[in-house]
């Protein structure tokens, strides 16, 4: 299949305006004849559901959470980017576009990224109008901070709880439409599959998580806004419930999966403390504005520190290696995440890591506190410092934080065109669940921007173009395809409940996580990936013969929910490995040890790999088929990324 990105022709800055004009419209009176299903009510889903309902469409919104306000978006701390240039420091739409393309190591589409930068400014307006209490200066205007990969201050924030405030804003807009009767909300309801009729997405099958009832829902279009799949690694900064199931089931029905191996490992997370660990906690990137990253300059001192023979305060200035400032003088501690993570790993691999495990580096606020005073630092990062103290038992005001990289975000996801439509007509994908805008590495504060751009300002236009060409008469739930897919879902449920094996679900999830982290994590090799593939295959087989899923379908059953998700992670894991193995280059978060510059930086191969790898599911046990969407750069020159 030829993948048509549907990027409009013409100058970059005019593409979106022209595209909107060329899109067909559904007239206001006809909108109420169309039903749209939105799966997921995080930033992307809630903003889309609310905006579509405002336009007049009938929306059904689904979430496995008990309330839309619990979506994982709530956990985003640091901020949201927008090219407002309120600081008069040289920002512009073009600069945000350029930073994002470069930050993504030239593996995203110019057209998409430019549109993202273009609508970013409207997002801030919208959120302020909703009553989102962004941080302000004494004069009453909005405050900004800077984030990695940028030399301007364009990040808007609400203390350390930006995601929470943005989600509550979108949730309030959604709640308003629930009250108006334009959105019907289905909490604690998990989408289990997509229903297709004549090649078009026509609805979904769900499981009511309280009663176990398997139900069908028909609509004219289906939007998947179901978030990222970082939990394939078991340990990540994602919430416990994050999963790939919705996207994966759609993939098995024909939606291509793009760049699955592009994973972001975030440099500033609290290090692992033991085997019981269930998740990793992110310390916001904004901390790198004031915190300085370092390790002891010598292995000897690092070892003494680990053994507790010396204290941090015993190390003089010349004994400390501020490795990011040393290697990247112009960006310093604010290099992009992939670069910061890789350098931390390098320092630890070199034997200079700290913490008992040797798998940590310092993030030090001593100098910032000396410069600005404790009160200023507290006002900026108070809640983060408290959180750190609560988890580790140590006080970052007096001793430096210890951090280590952890899985954080997935740039890969369902392939979508410029309209956010997957390869299945009528099936759209928004937010972290799609692959669209971040290339091989996402810049900080850009996921919130993308989720809200997709939901508030892109889908309301692009879905009209599709619906205008779809007759209002709906294929409803009585179509035999609905009963058929529902039966398949029920069969899978009973299959899982009947295996009656000996191993717990977490046993498999943890094992998968280890394989992924060791071979498909921060550094990858062809040899390791081949090994990972074999191990995942074996693990998958073991899962289906030896997993123990307790209870029945007809009740709230957390084991059953988790079993479905882990089963899908096992399949996804294999595809991630295939994708990483296929990409014989290093770019952004994908670092293949075989491909690096003499200084150890990622070495791209633009001649052979400037494409989106979109994988097509070929059936149980079959290798997936690779489809390539070439990336065409008309405006930026591809260069070796440099943050020196």
């Amino acid at each position: 299949m030829i993948l048509d990105s549907k990027i409009p022709a013409g100058p970059l800055a005019e593409k979106w305006t022209k595209h909107k004009f060329n899109s067909k419209l559904v007239n206001p009176a006809n909108k109420r004849k169309y039903d749209v299903i939105v799966v997921g009510t995080g930033l992307a889903g809630a903003s889309a559901a609310a905006s579509l309902a405002e336009l007049g469409y009938n929306v059904k919104a689904f979430t496995f959470h008990d309330s839309p306000r619990r979506a994982h978006s709530i956990a985003a701390q640091g901020g949201i980017n927008a090219a407002k240039n309120y600081q008069n420091d040289g920002d512009s739409i073009y600069r945000l576009f350029y930073d994002t393309i470069k930050g993504g190591d030239y593996r995203s589409r110019e057209g998409n990224v430019y549109r993202l930068a273009e609508v970013s400014v409207k997002i801030i307006d919208q959120c302020v109008a909703q009553g989102v209490p962004f941080a302000r200066e004494y004069g009453g205007l909005l405050a900004n901070r800077s984030f990695g990969g940028a030399q301007v201050s364009r990040t808007f924030y609400a203390r350390g709880q930006t995601g929470q405030q943005l989600l509550l804003g979108a949730y309030s807009a959604l709640s308003r439409q629930v009250a108006n009767g334009k959105v019907k909300l289905y909490p604690r309801t998990e989408m289990m599959d997509v229903v297709m009729v004549d090649g078009q997405a026509r609805g979904i099958v769900t499981r009511n998580l309280i009663t176990g009832a398997v139900e069908t829902h028909a609509a004219h279009a289906v939007l998947l806004c179901t978030g990222g799949y970082g939990n394939v690694f078991f340990l990540s900064t994602n919430a416990m419930g994050c999963n790939v199931t919705a996207a994966w089931r759609a993939h098995k029905r024909g939606a291509y999966f793009a760049n699955p191996c592009f994973t972001q490992i975030h440099p500033t997370c609290i290090p692992v403390s033991g085997d019981h660990q269930s998740k990793l906690t992110l310390m916001s990137e904004s901390l790198r504005n004031d915190g300085r990253v370092w390790v002891p300059a010598s292995k000897e001192n690092a070892e003494k520190l680990r053994k507790g023979q010396i204290k941090v305060s015993d190390l003089k200035e010349e004994d400390r290696d501020y490795f990011l400032e040393r290697k990247y003088p112009s960006f310093g501690n604010l290099v992009p995440r992939d670069v910061a993570s890789r350098n931390a790993k390098e320092a630890c691999d070199d034997g200079r890591g700290v913490n008992e495990t040797g798998e940590a580096v310092f993030l030090d606020f001593r100098d910032a506190i000396k410069r600005d005073g404790k009160a200023v630092i507290e006002s900026k990062y108070g809640n983060l410092f408290d959180m750190y103290k609560q988890i580790t038992g140590e006080d970052p005001y007096t001793s430096p934080m210890m951090i280590y990289p952890a899985v954080h975000y997935t740039m890969g996801g369902l392939w979508v065109d410029y309209n956010l439509m997957t390869t299945i007509p009528g099936l759209y994908c928004l937010g972290e669940a799609n692959f669209s805008d971040h290339g091989a590495n996402r810049l900080g504060a850009s996921a919130l921007m993308q989720g809200l751009a997709d939901g508030y300002f892109v889908i309301p236009y692009t879905i009209g173009d599709y619906l205008a060409q779809t007759p209002p008469k709906k294929v409803d739930e009585t179509h035999p395809e609905f009963a058929k897919v529902a039966q398949e879902v029920k069969n899978r449920i009973s299959q899982l409940l009947n295996i009656d094996g000996k191993q717990t679900i977490d046993h498999f999830h943890k094992k998968l996580g280890k394989i992924m982290w060791n071979y498909c994590g921060m550094a990858r090799t062809a040899e390791g990936l081949a090994k990972a593939k074999a191990e995942i295959k074996a693990l998958k087989k073991e899962f289906w013969s030896d997993v123990k899923v307790l209870g029945t379908n007809e009740e709230l059953n957390l084991s059953l929910e988790k079993a479905h998700r882990v089963a899908d992670f096992l399949e996804l894991g294999e595809l991630m490995v295939d994708d990483a193995l296929n990409r014989n280059e290093s770019c952004g978060g994908h670092f293949r040890e075989e491909y690096q510059t003499p200084e150890g930086e990622a070495l791209r191969d633009d001649e052979n790999f400037a494409y989106v790898a979109a994988w097509k599911y070929m059936g149980e046990g079959q290798e997936e088929e690779l489809n390539k969407e070439p990336l065409i750069f008309e405006n930026v020159k591809l260069t070796q990324r440099s943050y020196k």
Partner: protein
């Protein structure tokens, strides 16, 4: 550490429910409270017993999902969320009682899981600014004094966990409701519907069966996000002035 857990088990909403006792050992001080329960659940599963169901998601103290009453206190001994509580707050050999939120408006679904849809319905009654997507003014068009923005943010930090309700002997939802009312009453964007909003949200709160506020302050004392009682005072003022000059027709 070795501990004895007394946990509320209830098969479903109609089951009567009761306590079951589980001894656990190999608990480390660095574990979070929920990780300690994960370990128990792994053991129960291995033995073929139904694991203890409890709500949780972010495990970072922000989603508001976790909701356990620990030794009689919502979210346990510290003023934090259950998920941010670590075992270093407990003593070796201690016995710990774990119950769900108890309130008429929060029916138990299973074990420690309750249904908090009532909170969503309070927000649906008016916890928003009535604007559509698009067509709004530039974000810097209306300056907002930093002190006001900060106060609004203090209120907006509520995570909707419901500990305030669980802590209150009347199961009142005043702290939760007043946090949203305050946020929007403080900000210029919330002025247009200031009066109708408070009236509708309070009416919904009453309709859900939450109790009255008798100013004991138990809610504030247990709130993991430090939502202050001054929000309740502000809501009372808002409500009083709205009822004098009601715009609800």
């Amino acid at each position: 550490m070795k501990l004895t857990l007394k946990i509320w088990r209830q098969k479903n909403a109609s089951d009567k429910g009761g306590f079951a006792t589980y001894p656990v050992d190999h608990v480390s001080k660095d574990m979070s409270f929920l990780e300690m329960l994960d370990v128990l659940n792994e053991e129960l599963t291995e033995k073929g017993e139904d694991p203890v169901h409890f709500d949780h998601d972010c495990r970072e103290g922000i989603c508001g999902t976790c909701s356990l009453v620990i030794n009689g206190k919502p979210h346990g001994p510290l003023q934090t969320t259950t998920c941010q509580l670590h075992m270093r707050s407990f003593e070796d050999g201690q016995s710990i009682t774990i119950e769900p939120w108890r309130a008429k408006a929060f029916p138990v679904v299973k074990d420690l899981v309750v249904d908090r849809y009532a909170f969503d319905r309070i927000i649906q009654a008016g916890g928003y600014v009535n604007i559509n997507t698009g067509g709004v003014p530039d974000a810097n068009e209306i300056p907002i004094p930093k002190t006001i923005a900060d106060l609004a943010m203090d209120a907006a930090q509520c995570i909707g966990c419901g500990a305030c309700v669980a802590a209150c002997k009347n199961a009142s939802a005043m702290l939760f409701t007043s946090a949203k009312v305050s946020q929007l009453a403080l900000l210029p964007q919330g002025q247009v519907e200031r009066k109708t909003r408070v009236e509708k949200m309070v009416a919904q709160m009453d309709a859900e069966g939450f109790g009255a506020c008798t100013n004991t302050g138990a809610c504030e004392a247990e709130c993991p996000k430090g939502i202050s009682l001054t929000n309740i005072a502000r809501m009372n003022r808002e409500y009083f002035s709205a009822s004098l000059t009601s715009e609800n027709v």
